[in-house]
Symmetry: D3
Subunit: 254 residues, 6 copies
């Protein structure tokens, strides 16, 4: 169920202990020469929607509109990007979760759709969870569906940026916004990654302009297809729906 599509009385009438409120958190940012800046918003919203459709017969799921601007400082120098700072993202999610709690709900998933948000959402989830004393979790859809995604993708193991995976899903959902003629100019990165140079345990500040100087992308969209995209979207929704129906998790002590 979409929060924004329901009458207030319908929301108030939901079983408060059962319902999980899903807050998609995305970003509006440069996505190479071939994809629109709204990719993360489109994908995260759609995955949240499909997840709710799969889950609602078993447990009510209420999806808020997507927080469409996240932490995208890394893309700012490439154009087309809007970013919040960390304190503001924290403040927005705190206000949203506080409102959710005041409406009587106590189970929240911050569903992430943008790599640059991962660390911040982890920190913010802990801060909000302890302050509001609620069952709150966060995950990124491609990390949650990692095995399913690896089985579908051919050129990469997981989602990069404006890559085989994101391009496939956009072809499935909004082909008109995708420019196939630019696929050949959209392959990246052309610089070694932090992991290449320093291994997987190091996180450092690094712009996408430095990671991928020509295209700002991480991946190869020429390997994308609408069919793959449809399978990825469903795989994410299935993975997340199983998670939302995991009573052992949502009833854990905290």
């Amino acid at each position: 169920m979409q929060w924004a599509d329901l009458k207030a009385d319908e929301i108030s009438g939901l079983p408060k202990d059962e319902t999980i409120v899903v807050v998609p958190v995305a970003s509006l940012e440069h996505h190479g020469p071939h994809l629109p800046t709204g990719v993360d918003i489109v994908l995260t919203s759609e995955i949240a929607r499909r997840t709710a459709v799969l889950t609602d017969p078993h447990r009510p799921v209420l999806v808020t509109p997507a927080v469409w601007s996240g932490l995208a400082e890394m893309h700012m120098s490439l154009g087309g990007t809007i970013t919040l700072d960390l304190d503001t993202l924290h403040a927005v999610l705190r206000s949203i979760c506080r409102s959710i709690v005041r409406q009587g709900f106590g189970k929240v998933l911050l569903l992430n759709g943008h790599g640059g948000n991962i660390a911040a959402l982890g920190a913010i989830t802990n801060e909000i969870g302890s302050t509001l004393d609620i069952a709150i979790a966060t995950t990124s859809y491609w990390e949650h569906a990692a095995e399913r995604f690896a089985a579908i993708l051919e050129d990469q193991d997981t989602i990069g940026h404006a890559c085989e995976g994101e391009t496939s899903m956009m072809l499935a959902l909004a082909e008109g916004l995708v420019d196939r003629d630019k696929f050949g100019q959209a392959i990246g990165p052309d610089n070694p990654t932090v992991a290449d140079i320093a291994g997987p345990a190091v996180l450092r500040w690094r712009s996408f302009a430095a990671r991928s100087t020509v295209t700002g992308t991480l991946g190869n969209p020429t390997r994308a297809s609408a069919g793959k995209g449809e399978r990825l979207l469903d795989a994410a929704a299935e993975s997340l729906s199983a998670f939302l129906r995991n009573d052992a998790f949502w009833n854990m002590s905290y």
Copy 2:
């Protein structure tokens, strides 16, 4: 043009001095028994979209996704509502406008679609304008199109809340989300207004639960029709498009 639908290079390629960036600011809140909570988001986004369509042939207009949560504390006790606090709304709009400026644009309209945001957007517009040194303005669509709206509406002079006007526009855009059977239970307010008691110059803190104890509405949806709604949406867009094409305004010294 919708920012989120464009590739980053298309945004970067716009004439920076000419383009006006429109940021719709809405709310997710109780809208009576007959309308969904997302009314302000739907209407403000659609009016911004129509405004851009009318204006783009003359001057590029770039519409960001709607800031979908505003100042809705007044509706919190009625259910279905999410609200930001004043400092958070300020922080969000400051981050968004700062990003817009860093992308090279210098003309911004904060297009308001929720009564509870009016005062805050006035104050925030001044604060952001002087801090970022840009041409920034704010207006509420129903105030900007006040004369056109008065000519279309029959039961009221302007937009109330979940009223003839909002219900008409929702019938035009998303009839499936409107519950006509509840129209008769949706008429409000049942208490005198602040203006009734103290005249038009006084603003006071007052919840909608106090203003309209039964329905939480201000207006009469039984007077609504999809045809009126379509005319209202076009009227708002025409009024705002004329404003965006008003070179004398956008080139004023400030």
Copy 3:
């Protein structure tokens, strides 16, 4: 009654449910070549004082000292001006109102005397009212006494800036601080206003240096007289005193 003139025991002894605390909010700013920078402080304080004198026989009114610095960024470039930023004005009024509430009072009027404060006081009133759960309202004296003022003023309908109205009231209260020789050089504005160009529904950031490049004023002080000023001051106080005695308003549910 002036809070600062009373002993603490006298304040504590007031009937807490009946008493209204009035907080004048003004500004210290450029007021043309002929008026001192303290105009808004002098006028708002005096109007609050006269309002209390008229009201005290009917209902206790406690007037705090004026918050003498408001949002005057618009005047900064013209000299003689001190301004707060929005967050600071909010913080100051929150501290003051919280103290008032902790002293047992629950009815507050933020009486505004400066145009640049209007939007902010509206937003802050809502924020403080809901947070502290009190009956709090705001109005600007010239808006509250709009009809009375229109009947007295000859050159304008309402208060501008350093105009017929403000100059008249300063002549009545502090003639020694007014420079009549400069009246002829104090007429403004010389640029069209936002309303001239874009109608009444648009608010934009605009400095007074841009509005009125030569004088920084809005109005014509050559039409001022002490007699008019005295009538304006009394009219404001009468209008506001009626408002403070309006039991239906102060006992409204909120």
Copy 4:
């Protein structure tokens, strides 16, 4: 000179390098049964005024209106008190000083008139001085004129609270606001002081309700007289005027 009494052009015309801007910082708080809550505002403003009168022939001194609310949490439980929190006092003084600097001035004195402000003004002076890179100092009038005051006072060495000294100065300035009949009930404290128990080097949080449970005062007003008050006011002004004329101080490197 009083900032608020000058036209903006007069302020802009002052020699920026020479002029010292004095910002009186006071408090609105319980002052025993015999004195009004505004004592600190009245005294600090008057001492600043007299100081400017003495100094202006030698060096321009510009006195802003008094920041009338300081850190008075210690008096809150006794009634009649309004307090800021530390962050808000910091924010207010930062906004004021930033405005002063933007008007071209670079020498500022935060003239303190309330014991509870001393530590905060020390910390804030350093913070503002380094941030704005200006010559900024703070002193409390009774500490600056300590020797002169000791010579005048009979019952105490320095200013307490609502004591011989403050009562004398109020008798000199606003006898009508002083209640002589309550002098006998206004003697305090009745509890040992922190210094009595732990020596002069310890500062601790302690309310005035704990320090002086019956009267909330520190001192003996029965020893007050208007003549002493007049001498104290002049002594403070003479001491401070010598300080403002101390070129070696105001031209020190920092």
Copy 5:
């Protein structure tokens, strides 16, 4: 080199482009019945020290004192714990890094020694890196030395909490602070973990009192030994020293 042990001139004399400043970030928190609350401070400081010793011959490394309080809300209910909130940790690290940059250095490692800090340090590293425009990275010592640690540890693959690993290192460094008699009562957790229930991609707010209700630990200290501890400390230092000497990393564009 330890910043605190050097004279200021020695610090100023270091080659600014070469030197890496290491800021250990730890926590003061419950560590089971057998370990002192300062474990993370002791270990992170010592690992930083050993890392610098290994690295200094090749590249100057300057180690600040440890930020000894981190995000330990999860341990608060178990006693002995001090925690910062997220905004405060951000503020502290921002102040420290800003000072480091003002002293001329541009390469910083936030060396983490507490699991609860990981997400926050990731987010803060990005925020500080982009704001100050420096080469800044973060890693947790046990994640960086993951392979080395897995080879040394017998009961677990990596560091838990008050476990084989932490207990071993404390035996090596401060045996007198370790209570061997309590090892048998220190084995945890007794509840399934989030990963057990929901897989590795989910992060949720959860206290250690819920994770490990009896002991508050994650691991088995009976498997600890001082010898293992010494090897772990050296392994961490060797791994990190290789990282600090990785010129390709520290000279990467960002």
Copy 6:
């Protein structure tokens, strides 16, 4: 007792009403050519430790690790210095004290070891004390032991900066970090002090680079000796221990 050396259960087992938690607050800053930057951390920590040793037989004293970065903006231009801003120091101490209170303790001493912190700690002590409603005090060790110190020191009455006193104590504790060859180049100040020019009642913003242009010091280290240092450390601890055992103080109403 050192908090960090105790197991959590040992801390939880302390008599909550009796125990005093001591939080040393120091600074990491330029200390002349002869002393390391960590002087204030070393001395404050050691004095706190000795104080606890003397006091524990009579009353439990729990010493947290030192807050090692304070307000040292005054030393920044001389190198080797890290500083917090006022708001951050406030936030850190608020988080620490809030955690202390949540662990059940209600008596706190902020033991200061850096002149630049004095004013801020005074203000913060009041703010925290009233907010958390605890018995909290602050003192600087050299001010508390003023008489004892004056009897030991030969060249000065109290502690300056990198002077006879600080150098003596460092010789006693960490002779290897002291460079005796630089003593002759470490004498300061070479400029008159604020007190020289304006008397003791004035506080102003002034960097140490301006106070002591050549050495950044206040005092004469050639008069230092390890023996004096040992006596100073003991004197401070004895003075403070007497204070911590002063039941009349710690049981005062507040």
